[in-house]
Amino acid sequence: MTVIEARGLRKSFGATVALDGVDLRVEEGRILGLIGPNGAGKTTALNAILGLTPYQGELKVLGRDPWAERDQLMRDACFIADVAVLPRWIRVSQALEYVAGVHPRFDRAKAEGFLAKTNIRNTSKVRELSKGMVAQLHLALVMAIDARLLVLDEPTLGLDILYRKQFYDSLLNDYFDRSRTIIVTTHQVEEVQHVLTDLMFIDRGRIVFSCSMEEFESRYLEVTANPEQVAAARALQPIHERPVLGRSILLFDLMTLDKVDRQQLAAFGDVRTPSIADLFVAMLGNKAGNQARVTQGAGR
């Protein structure tokens, strides 16, 4: 079943084009990573999907028009827009009570179960919690909602590494199943690489690359070439090359190479699956003037 379907999605703010004809299709049971440099249009795309911003073009989310039916859509979809959107005055107990009051699919006992595993006390106000605890609280609220689509926009920004790891672990272990769909944008690409089932690169309002993670793993190879074989490896036209500690690391797209397989490449040196960040830099960093932004965007 298709959860999100977009055709020719456009959105501009004055002269700035945030979305420039995005076509998108997300099936049920996927975890899609939307990766892009700052200002690429990630948040705008998510806002359109969530009915937070008007747009041009066609968009259906869970069969609904999100802009016209946001409140209806939010019964089946939920989102964490940012780490700091929980109202600072609210008490944990009040947040539970309120969501239970307005959301027909919220399971309060489940949320309390998640919170019991944390150090968050029921009587605390959000303003008294650390940033990491606020993220835990928000995640506990969201995971207790029996939704079909979860959208996460930089859900772990500014959290320390322990909280970040825990965040994705509980998402995978306690929440995700094949009937749910998750879309996540993040700059900490390495941390979501093992979580994702699908990958999408967005740049200047366009989807520039999209594949499943299986495809990603079978298609892209990174070779840390032995010095004497670098020239031979270069002859096979890697899509990217970068020097690391005096050695060259070459990135190959096996689809574009004829009759070249892993064994052949392995002869040049150590072979491994590249990180998403490396592929991102290879594909988008080559554009003149984009380098600085992209390396930052890829979390390097």
Binding site: G101, V102, R105, S179
Partner: protein, 310 residues
């Protein structure tokens, strides 16, 4: 949702489809109003505080009560009644004023604050429509604050009535005058009617305007709420040397739906009973005000839909 469940009738999703139907719209509305009271505790702290202050001041005045009572006893029944009512009116009036100020302040902040602290993104992540959010916020000045003012007024009044009686009995006088001259139950009913109809519905256009401005303004919502009406009034005065706009606003604040001014009326019960339901329902100003309110609220809801954190 429905179209999908029709398309796949055997899917396990059907159970999920049934759930929302069970939830009626009043439940999210109720919780939306409750959360306003959690967030803005001044909504009841301010009236209770003012009530407490009045009570304190009147407690001190109890010292003069026996001598005052002796003077009152020499008056004719109508004057007696007015003298006894005087304090009740003052208490009710001060709490009405408090509720008006608190309501105006609340409305100007209501839809601006949630954008300033970015919490609008959290509220919008829940299945509550913009219109329901706006209506729940409108319910605060129109209903909730008026009920709070009513309860506080009543509490102060009853405490004073009991204490005054005790003081009079203690000084060897009869307290009967306090109870017979003051039709307290009848007056309470009229006070409630007065608060809900006049301070709630008749003032509703103001609260609607404040909410709309709060939803629209990127910064300084207070200035946007106050300056444009002021500017229109001044421009009209300069251009045409008339003040229709200003007097229209003033009638709506100080007057009552049938055109009379509340300030002139003498006795409390006269004042509260000043307008009758029939007069009210046939007063065009009342309905025009409600229509304008509806426009303001619809605009506030529509603006909130487009609004992002600031």
């Amino acid at each position: 949702m429905n179209t999908q469940s029709n398309a796949v009738p055997d899917s396990p999703l059907d159970e999920r489809v049934v759930a929302p139907a069970a939830m009626v719209a009043t439940r999210p509305f109720y919780w939306s109003v409750r959360r306003e009271l959690w967030e803005n505790r001044y909504l009841y702290i301010a009236p209770v505080g003012v009530g407490g202050l009045i009570l304190f001041a009147r407690l001190i005045s109890l010292a003069h009560l026996p001598s005052r009572m002796r003077t009152i006893l020499t008056l004719d029944p109508m004057a007696q009644r007015m003298a006894i009512e005087q304090h009740y009116m003052m208490t009710a009036g001060l709490l009405m004023l408090t509720a008006m100020l608190v309501g105006a302040f609340y409305c100007i902040e209501a839809l601006h604050g949630e954008r300033r602290d970015r919490s609008i993104l959290f509220w919008k992540s829940l299945p509550v429509s913009d219109l329901m959010t706006v209506l729940s916020k409108m319910a605060i000045p129109v209903v909730v604050l008026q009920l709070i003012a009513f309860v506080v007024t009543l509490a102060v009044q009853w405490i004073m009535l009991l204490l005054s009686s005790a003081v009079l009995l203690g000084s060897g006088m009869s307290a009967a005058m306090l109870w017979t001259r003051l039709p307290i139950v009848q007056m309470s009913a009229m006070l409630l009617y007065h608060l809900l109809i006049l301070h709630g519905l008749w003032h509703a256009p103001f609260y609607g305007w404040f909410l709309m401005v709060s939803s629209w303004a990127k910064r300084a919502p207070f200035l946007w709420a106050v300056v444009p009406p002021l500017a229109i009034g001044i421009a009209e005065k300069i251009a045409f040397n008339t003040s229709y706009f200003a007097s229209m606003l003033w009638t709506h604040v100080g007057g009552s739906p049938d055109g009379g001014s509340r300030a002139q009326s003498g006795s409390m019960s006269d004042m509260l009973g000043h307008f009758e339901p029939v007069k009210l329902l046939t007063a065009p100003g009342f309905w025009a005000g409600l229509a304008v309110t509806a426009i303001f609220l619809a605009a506030a809801a529509r603006l909130r839909r487009y609004r992002e954190p600031i």
